[in-house]
Amino acid sequence: MSRGLDYEVINENVKRVAYAVRGELYLRASELQKEGKKIIFTNVGNPHALGQKPLTFPRQVVALCQAPFLLDDPHVGMMFPSDAIERARHYLSLTSGGLGAYSDSRGLPGIRKEVAEFIERRDGYPSDPELIYLTDGASKGVMQMLNTIIRNDKDGILVPVPQYPLYSAAISLFGGSLVPYHLEETANWGLDINNLRQSLNEARMNGITVRAMVIINPGNPTGQCLSEANIREILKFCYQQKLVLLADEVYQQNIYQDERPFISSRKILLGMGPPFSKEVQLVSFHTVSKGYWGECGQRGGYFEMTNIPLKTVDEIYKVASISLSPNVPGQIFLGLMVNPPKPGDISYSKFVTESKAILDSLRKRAHIMTNGFNSCRNVVCNFTEGTYLLCLLSHVFIPQIKLPPKAIEAAKKAGKVPDVFYCLKLLEATGISTVPGSGFGQKEGVFHLRTTILPAEEDMPAIMDSFKKFNDEFMEQYDDKKGYSRM
């Protein structure tokens, strides 16, 4: 008789899940690290792990909230600026018992109000705090929504390819069907509505009820920003096809240019007026893990619901209540993020200096990496006359690697997917730990790897040199000049 946790008898959905960001490459990199090899982890958007310093102000505020006895000390003013002290008192007053008490299962009402005010300032339309739920990171919110929508394997979710593999993993876990729609690499990873329609129709022909559509804007791993026209098309599409739109907007603060600013899906939706504005169901996600805050370890995030029936909201609340509440320090980080120091505040100039330094450095590193990749043999970093750079938004980067047939053969012999083969060799030669493009989805015969732009600026040139040396040697070894994987 099999025992409870024998491999053969565990949930098949669990076995089906694949999450490449912490998959094979990462595990191998961790092994090598244990053996003493220096590893540069570029596999996950985890800025603080690569030397980015936390912003001072939020850390001051949360430290004071953790240890309120500090607020009673007469010397506290010598160690903390007065606006941090005031803000700590403010957030503590929003709790009922400080950081150690479960909050409302949706998050502290006072912070949800701050989030609503942020959304209103950003978009120009009012937002209802009752429809904003704070979660332990945006991922938990995404999982909750997908779990709510998916009933069985006949329910399909439209997901961009390439995508951040949380979506594929969650859909597998909840037993649904992933319906891929392809982004156009040659058009800057743009969205072609015809692609979308075709994917939808194919799925329906296979008996799938397509329930929702995911957009990741700004894109992960692709880094593109959807145009206003694109988003409008998508919203109309969702209206016509009765899909709920799940808008992953966690990188909205990683924009380094003005030509294509971030516009929230909600703003566009409300601007379209009825019937769209009143009928299209939309859930928007945000986090403290990205932007220039990069506070991944705090696990702070929220989702905002638009046009979701109240009875459904009640069910979503019920499920949230089973986990009691999101972590309170993470909620405070979120409040601080949407409500940072303002001009005139004592901490304002330091806050701005720190933020600007981070954003400028990210922009510089993006340049170094783009140029570095494009100088490598058989590597193309997608940009068109600077458009890519103009749209460069997130922490991630996705050069295309044109693998020669001999390399693909060698990969097959080794029992590996070609880009996994390449990335493992890269790792072993240079210590650079990336995520193979197959982890995100890509067109057949086209290979990528995903790397972040997060390694420290001073290390960048050496990293790119190291990559080039490996890549050009690899290509020399396997290139037979007959032809290679093409787009």
Binding site: H75, P180, Q442
Partner: protein
């Protein structure tokens, strides 16, 4: 133009139609409302889709969500919150001036103070720049400063804002393993530990792993903490109840467990695991050692995983009982990894630390294969990691100040103060409930709750029927309306059919207890006067 996409990837992701997921039971369908405000969109122009149902409505969301319930923050609490708002806008509108939330184990929301040493360390880790300042030594105890340095040293780059290893920071898991070993006298392995945002996500992970369909069952104590019933429903499994014996202080009788197991099997249910909550919630009993040994033997024989919810391990109020982890019991019986699969859940939310809002906890898994461990790791990795501050706190809880440390004495004072006070409140409230006509209340040997039984008069049962509510829900509602005290009806936890209970926490501060007791007595007398046969 033909678009070929990564065909094998797509095929892998587009699952073939299969029957591994059975649809939810018919009961769920009954609960689905037939009237949704969005069912007809009379004002909208003709849609191009073939159905009028909006994409996300109660008719077409995951029926397992409709099916699951969680009473701790359920109906009575929603009512209480409304009353609270009423009181704020209209003071004096009720015969009480505040709502007393006795529904949820949330100590710090009712005035319990956090342990100073823990908060010192956390503040320093949240803002490590403090460690470079001279004034810090005047504000923080030296052992807190030391501990903060030690913790930062096990964190790559000393970065407290980075995602960690998906099981939690290795150095912190080492500390926790050491703490477990010190507690039990048997070794613990850092690789067996998964740090999570509270114990609840860990429970969910295990249910996800174990439940393939409705044909998979989990043995749960009745009464139980409704996370178990909710997560089993959410993950599409079957709850197999085993009743605790109220007459013997909520004793866990193996004969009852055996009976339920056989019954479930005869109905075609594959029973996968046994949940045991020790100390118990809502029942508060602490298992005797030989009871625990019986359970271990039983689970070993029947191939069941033991899911040991041990979050109240530091909440014991009687001298004749001690906490023994199931792992310790199993190892002391000579059982190793090959003999029994065991999961132990611990949390920073309970004990004397009561840090609910931090969401810290872990599960320790022993006795399962590397392959299965990989799968659990994979699921954990999808969420990347649990919050770092909670991880740090878990390591502190399992490694508090030791004799000789600067903070040791004040730490012991704070800890003992809280635990002794909890023991006093448990006793006072137990006596108060037992003094009420028709109410019997077992001792709370541990945990944070009392679960008195209401022997309700026939008239009350009839009134409840007429109001289409459970009798204990009626009682709880009336109690709220008359006194502002919020308790959870026993039906939220499960009980022997035909019996009624309420769960009341022992957490309001001591100075509030006399008022609670007198209001409770007054209410109960009036209730019985109204409904006495």
């Amino acid at each position: 133009m033909l678009r070929r996409f990564a065909a094998d990837k797509a095929k892998h992701l587009l699952r073939p139609l299969c029957s591994s997921l059975l649809p939810a039971s018919a009961a769920a369908a009954d609960l689905v409302s037939s009237s949704s405000p969005f069912c007809t969109s009379s004002s909208a122009p003709a849609a191009m889709s073939s159905t009028k149902t909006p994409p996300v409505s109660v008719e077409n969301i995951n029926p397992k969500i409709i099916k699951c319930e969680y009473a701790v923050r359920g109906e009575i609490v929603i009512l209480a919150q409304r009353l609270q708002q009423e009181l704020q806008s209209n003071p004096g509108s009720r015969p009480f001036d505040e709502i007393l939330y006795c529904n949820i184990g949330n100590p710090q929301s009712l005035g319990q103070l956090p342990i100073t040493f823990f908060r010192e360390v956390l503040a320093l880790c949240d803002h490590p720049a403090l460690l470079d300042k001279d004034q810090t030594h005047g504000l923080f105890s030296s052992d807190a400063i030391d501990r903060a340095w030690k913790i930062l040293d096990v964190m790559p780059g000393r970065a407290t804002g980075a995602y960690s290893h998906s099981q939690g920071i290795k150095g912190l898991r080492d500390l926790i393993a050491a703490g477990i070993a010190a507690r039990d006298g048997f070794p613990a392995n850092a690789d067996d530990i998964f740090l999570t945002d509270g114990a609840s996500p860990a429970v969910h992970m295990m249910m996800q792993l174990l439940l393939r369909s409705e044909k998979d069952g989990i043995l749960c104590p009745i009464p139980q903490y409704p996370l178990y019933s909710a997560s089993i429903a959410l993950h599409g499994g079957t709850l197999v109840p085993y009743y605790l014996n109220e007459a013997t202080g909520w004793g866990l009788e193996l004969s009852e467990v055996k009976k339920q197991l056989e019954d479930a099997r005869s109905k075609g249910v594959t029973v996968r695991a046994l949940v045991v909550i020790n100390p118990g919630n809502p029942t508060g009993q602490v298992l005797a050692e030989d009871n625990q040994r019986e359970i271990v033997d039983f689970c070993k024989e029947e191939g069941l995983v033991i899911l040991a919810d041990e979050v109240y391990q530091e909440n014991i109020y009687v001298d004749n009982k001690k906490f023994h982890s199931f792992k310790k019991i199993a190892r002391s019986m000579g059982y190793g990894e090959e003999d029994i699969a065991l999961v132990s859940f611990q949390s920073v939310s309970k004990g004397y630390y009561g840090e609910c809002g931090k969401r810290g906890g872990y599960m320790e898994l022993t006795g399962f294969t590397a392959e299965v461990r990989e799968q659990i790791y994979k699921i954990a990795s999808v969420n990347l990691c649990s919050n770092i501050s909670g991880q740090i706190l878990a390591s502190l809880v399992m490694n508090p100040p030791q004799e000789g440390d600067e903070s040791f004495e004040s730490y012991v004072d704070e800890k003992d103060g809280i635990l002794l006070s909890l023991a006093r409140r448990a006793k006072t409230l137990e006596e108060a409930f037992n003094s009420l006509e028709g109410v019997t209340c077992n001792r709370a040997e541990g945990a944070m709750y009392l679960f008195p039984r209401l022997h309700l008069p026939h008239k009350a049962i009839e009134a409840a029927k007429a109001a289409k509510t459970a009798p204990d829900a009626l009682y709880a509602r009336r109690l709220l309306d008359a006194t502002g005290i919020v308790v959870v009806p026993g039906s939220g936890f499960g009980q022997v059919p035909g019996t009624w209970h309420i769960r009341c926490t022992i957490l309001p501060q001591e100075d509030k207890i006399p008022a609670i007791v007198s209001r409770l007595k007054e209410f109960h007398e009036a209730f019985m006067a109204e409904f006495r046969d």
